[in-house]
Symmetry: C2
């Protein structure tokens, strides 16, 4: 059941600025994600929802032996991903992108491992994706899934202008068929899709007065992430420009406070085909 | 500034039944807490807020070389703790309890290490406790603090009767001078109190369809924990008996659902005097 991509709503949008933010975001959050991902013994890697190649770039840098096949639904994102890979000097022998719907994959080979990061949160039926991949994984292939768990976001002090915005952002994502809490459900989803030896951990940021510089970086990063939803939220009449500004000012104040706290957890799953 | 204990509100109350629940609770949550606590090289341990001795019992069992001094504000809890220790065969050479206000300690010796668990959440000024302890710790003494972080509580599916009750429970704890998010602030608090080499981790439960038995146990445990606040919440007119029943029924339904998810994080800090 192929949709017209232009009819599909993606909370971050597809502007050039946003494509760049997705890449910068991946680099800021690289360490907490990749400290627990090991593809050292993998050659053929399948990446589902490769987008603009923000994670693909990190995968190729960290695991130089990899050959990556990225599956992505949006032609615009594939175009940007191909540009990014060319700039980095990765040719077709290292990475290729295939435009397909991840719930109905039709691939030309099988893979040693699969990688999914910040993708299932945007998909109405994530189990279909996990099941659709399985015939294209070799027996025993490792699968690594990293997903959001947005109810874990916490700041001290509590600022209603920040938390109310976050609530609206997440409710909107649910209304367009996404799931901002999908990380918490990865155990259920992987089990239902028939994977084995499922292991979950949580990672993320817990920043306070002990690490002022990293805290500043992450508050800025998070303000930009939250702002990336604003064009759609304003267009839908869910927030006003004033509310957006209040959220951004609130995040700036939190960033500058010595005793502020930033807390967020994503969930990472490892399982085997 | 000594208060009259009977004037002080404690969300769990001081009934015999509740004293027993505190002990059972400590045993259910023992593994996630103690897997990361090591007092193997400690002899003289100071426990702040020892209550009915629920953690003291675990400390003495896990670290047989320990001698514990428990400081507790409530005479009723000390009486129960002494009974519990006698039943377990621990005499005064292994454990003693001192009735003092932890914000103004006056002890007869110095200690190799200190332990605090589920205590700072009930105290209006936790930094005063951490500062008050410091003169009674030997230089380099290890301090271990485990505290709640109640905004991390999440269930799938979302049940308003459960989450609304939890919101009221936590707001009430704030209104009586407690802090249900104190765990998230432990880095700030320990730094302000002058401890060094502060390290934070989060622990807890993330249970789903993969571990149905443990999930059932923890949903029951959590229902009882939430219910322990009910007598005060009803007395204060913050919830009705009907709302309490709805929360309990909701937790029972979650416990029985195959695909339900239980998630909760506490925060554990290690630091040195």
């Amino acid at each position: 059941m192929k949709q017209n991509p232009s009819e599909k709503k993606y909370i971050h949008g597809y502007t050039a600025l946003e494509q760049e933010r997705l890449r910068e975001q991946a680099l800021v959050i690289e360490k907490p994600i990749y400290d627990f991902i090991d593809f050292a013994n993998v050659k053929d890697l399948l990446e589902i929802g490769s987008g603009v190649g923000a994670q693909t770039e990190i995968l190729l840098r960290r695991f130089p032996q990899l050959q990556v096949t990225g599956v992505e639904y949006e032609a615009l994102q594939i175009k940007k991903a191909q540009e990014n890979m060319s700039k980095l000097g990765y040719g077709p022998e290292k990475v290729r992108f295939i435009q397909q719907d991840a719930t109905a994959l039709d691939l030309d080979k099988t893979f040693d491992a699969a990688f999914i990061c910040w993708v299932l949160e945007h998909i109405p039926d994530p189990v279909r994706v996990l099941k659709s991949m399985k015939p294209f994984l070799k027996p025993g292939a490792k699968i690594s899934v990293t997903e959001v768990f947005n109810s874990s976001f916490y700041t001290h002090p509590y600022l209603p202008e920040v938390m109310d915005y976050w609530g609206i952002y997440n409710s909107y994502q649910v209304s367009i068929g996404g799931d901002p809490q999908v990380g918490a459900k990865l155990g259920n989803l992987l089990q239902e899709a028939g994977y084995r030896d499922i292991d979950l951990r949580s990672g993320g940021f817990h920043l306070d007065s002990r690490m002022p510089d990293e805290k500043q970086t992450v508050f800025t990063y998070w303000k930009n992430l939250m702002s990336s939803g604003a064009p759609l939220l304003i267009q839908e009449g869910l927030i006003t420009a004033t509310q957006l500004k209040a959220m951004q000012d609130g995040m700036d104040r939190l960033r500058e406070m010595q005793d502020s706290v930033f807390y967020y957890r994503f969930i990472q799953a490892t399982a085997y085909a």
